[in-house]
Structure formats: structure tokens, C-alpha cells
């Protein structure tokens, strides 16, 4: 997926949960090499928008069109081109960090050897054999980031990516995002201005 050009066009996205309308008329477009920070107060729908964009939640109204190398993309095809890390997406507690990565890599048909350097990049190589139940919250977050990027997604969606990371973890994360920037479309949902500054565009849900 590393040289794939993706475009995402969201038109008038809305989402309601019962009588509560969370999102209303959200429109934007994004392509490879571009990045957007989604900002807004708590409860404004940032996480919901991320899940809709990742194809794991249906919007109430509006549409999202994806193209990969100018070919329309939908359904299970999205799994191979979208990577997402979110507080609601939790790996398996009973498995080790390595086993979680092995599961996700195998499910996506990726060679396991290509995933090993990611443990070094995110500073988790010494802990990859530990069961997740023994991970700290920061280590879990690092693993979530590894799981989001291990298949080199053309569209990377990160919801509160810096949460629970220490200063070193945030630096490693920022450096990694910089290394992806030219070949990936990036969406970061955050209230942290430092993280928002990693992106060049913005969508405000305020």
C-alpha cells in the first residue's frame, strides 16, 4: 500500500443516536500527502466521526467516497487501506503484544518480519512478549499505534494518539508521522494543540 494514492470525500455526514444529533453536515476531502486535525470539545463527535471514516460505523446521513489509485473503494477493501487507533479499539488482554500484532498481520496477509521494526520505532521491543494485561496505559497506546500502521495504510486515522504517552513516546510518534506524511493521508482527532499542529488542515466540530 505504500505507493497507493487515496482520496476521501465526505459529504454532509450526519450521525444521530436516538434523539441526540452528534454530527451535522460534516464535509471535507483529503488525499495522499494531506493531513487534517479534527478538533472539538468532549462529546462533539470526534471519535464517532473517526469510526464512520474507518467504515466501522454507519452514518445516519451523507456519504463518504474513497478512491484508491482512482478506483472506487468500499466494503472489505477498506480494511486493507485504512489504519485506525482509538481509545475504543482495544487489543486482546490475554495475548502478548507480539501475538496481537501477529493476529492483525496474519488477518491482513502481511509478512510478520516487516512488523518487527515497528516495535523498535515505538520503543516497545523489550515488552513485546508480555501479556497485555501487564502493560501500562502508555505501552498499550504504543501498541495501538503499531497495530494502526503495521499494514502501511494509505489512510491513517488516529483518535487521541498521544493520550497516555510520555514525552519520549510523543516525540517518537511525531517523528513517525513526519516520516509517513508524503505517502499517507492522515486524520488526527485531538484536543491537544501540539498534536493538531502535526496536521496541515483542520475540521472543527465545535
Amino acid at each position: 500500500m505504500e505507493n497507493s494514492a487515496i482520496t476521501v470525500t465526505a459529504q454532509s455526514i450526519s450521525k444521530s443516536f436516538g434523539p441526540a444529533r452528534i454530527l451535522e453536515g460534516i464535509s471535507f476531502s483529503l488525499g495522499t500527502g494531506e493531513s487534517i486535525a479534527v478538533t472539538g470539545p468532549n462529546g462533539s463527535g470526534k471519535s464517532t466521526l473517526c469510526e464512520i471514516l474507518a467504515g466501522i460505523r454507519r452514518p445516519t446521513g451523507g456519504s463518504i467516497e474513497y478512491t484508491l489509485n482512482r478506483q472506487p473503494l468500499c466494503g472489505d477493501g477498506l480494511l486493507h487501506v485504512i489504519g485506525i487507533a482509538s481509545p475504543r479499539i482495544n487489543p486482546y488482554e490475554a495475548l502478548t503484544g507480539m501475538e496481537n500484532v501477529e493476529f492483525a498481520a496474519r488477518a491482513r496477509g502481511i509478512d510478520m518480519s516487516s512488523t518487527l521494526p515497528l516495535f523498535e520505532t515505538f520503543g516497545l521491543h523489550r515488552h513485546r512478549g508480555k501479556a497485555l494485561r501487564h502493560y501500562s496505559s502508555g505501552m498499550r497506546q504504543r501498541l495501538k499505534l503499531i497495530l494502526a500502521v503495521l499494514h502501511h495504510p494509505a489512510l491513517l486515522i488516529l483518535d487521541e494518539p498521544g493520550s497516555n504517552l510520555d514525552a519520549e513516546g510523543r516525540r517518537q510518534f511525531a517523528a513517525y508521522i513526519d516520516s509517513l506524511r508524503t505517502r499517507t493521508a492522515i486524520i488526527i482527532a485531538t484536543n491537544d494543540m501540539e498534536e493538531a499542529r502535526l496536521c496541515r488542515g483542520a475540521v472543527s466540530l465545535a
Binding site: R88, I89, G109
Partner: protein, 218 residues
């Protein structure tokens, strides 16, 4: 797709092997119930209809908690979304169905000899008995897998699952009891077994087509 199915099966068995939740609970329940019935019967040989009925009641209630767990665990531990972003819905369904079939076959393989021994069941047609148990177990696993997904998505627990699944499982359970009674009496008729296999096939086909709608969040 095949990679995703294999990956999910390996993951489910690895987690089950570490927690042994589904199989341990089911086997404990089955052993205690079989012993309780055996002690209550007090060595009296029951009729073939009663023997078949009690056998399937034990197998059904032993298996249900474990069969539901394969999906409720994903929702309770918050891993369902992780599964959704890594595997196609069809792969998840196929892997969970395979896991449930394996679980119920293990339970049936343990219960059957225990039951035959403790309740003095005189098996005239053991191969017909084995075929009825296998086909009935397959039908229960096929029904339970998709129902477990619905119950888990609705935020339900195991107890709710047993109640909801009962009307769906009742027809194959009824036929399985009839086929088991016939095998205990010495009949080698395959009608019941064929019905159970056809029921399983139809249910799996419909579940496979509908699973995507159950699996994606509204």
C-alpha cells in the same frame, strides 16, 4: 480471506486455551448434571425416550454458555472494534462458527461416554447414536453462533442468550432427541440426521449472508 479466517481461529483457540472458560464451565456443568441424574435414578434403567431427552438437555444447557461466550467476550472486553478493523465480517463469522463447532464436539465427546456409563444406556446402534450426536451438535452450534452475535451486539449476557436461542434450537433439538432415541432402540434410520444436516446448512448459509448487517455498528 483465508488468512483472516485462520488468524481468527488461531486467536480464539489461543485465548480459550489460556482462560479455558467455555470448555471448563461446560464440562463441569455436564459432569455434575450427569452424576445428579445418575444418583437420582438410583440404578433404575430409564426408557430410551427419557434417556435421549435427558442427554440432549444436558448437552444443550452445558454448551450454551460456552457458545455465547465467543461473541459476548469480544463485546465485554471491548475487542469487537479491533476485530472489525482487522478482519472481514465473513471471516469473523466463519472463524467463530468453527470455534463453536469444535467446542460443542469436545463437550459431546466427553458427555457421551459419561452418560452411557452412568445411566446404563444400552447402545444397540452406536454408529447411529454417534451420527445423531454429531448432527445435533452441528445444528446447535450453527444456530447458536449467529444468535450469540445478535445477543452480544444487543449488550446481552449468557442467560439472555439461552432464552432467546431456545425457540430456534427447539426444532433441531426435537429431531435430535428422536434420532438419539431411535439409535438407542437399535434403529439405523438416517432421516433425523439428514434433517439436522440440512437445517445446519440452511442456517449457516443465511447467517453468512446476514452477518455483515449484524456486525457493523449503527
Amino acid at each position: 480471506m483465508l488468512n483472516a479466517i485462520i488468524s481468527n481461529i488461531v486467536k480464539d483457540f489461543r485465548i480459550e486455551f489460556r482462560s479455558r472458560f467455555a470448555v471448563n464451565i461446560a464440562l463441569s456443568f455436564a459432569a455434575i448434571t450427569t452424576l445428579a441424574i445418575s444418583l437420582t435414578a438410583g440404578g433404575v434403567r430409564l426408557g430410551s425416550q427419557t434417556q435421549a431427552m435427558l442427554f440432549w438437555i444436558i448437552l444443550f444447557f452445558s454448551a450454551m454458555n460456552g457458545l455465547a461466550h465467543v461473541f459476548t467476550r469480544e463485546e465485554e472486553e471491548g475487542t469487537a472494534l479491533f476485530l472489525r478493523v482487522t478482519s472481514p465480517a465473513a471471516a469473523v463469522y466463519t472463524a467463530k462458527l468453527t470455534f463453536n463447532i469444535a467446542v460443542i464436539f469436545i463437550i459431546a465427546a466427553v458427555i457421551s461416554p459419561l452418560y452411557v456409563f452412568f445411566l446404563n444406556v444400552d447402545l444397540v446402534a452406536p454408529s447411529a447414536f454417534a451420527a445423531a450426536v454429531c448432527a445435533g451438535s452441528l445444528a446447535i452450534a450453527s444456530s447458536a453462533t449467529v444468535l450469540a452475535a445478535i445477543v452480544a451486539r444487543a449488550g446481552g449476557r449468557g442467560s439472555l442468550f439461552t432464552i432467546i436461542s431456545f425457540p430456534v434450537v427447539l426444532p433441531p433439538l426435537w429431531v435430535a432427541i428422536g434420532a438419539t432415541r431411535a439409535s438407542i432402540s437399535g434403529s439405523t434410520s438416517t432421516e433425523g440426521v439428514i434433517f439436522l444436516l440440512a437445517f445446519s446448512g440452511a442456517l449457516v448459509a443465511v447467517s453468512y449472508m446476514l452477518f455483515g448487517h449484524i456486525w457493523i455498528e449503527e
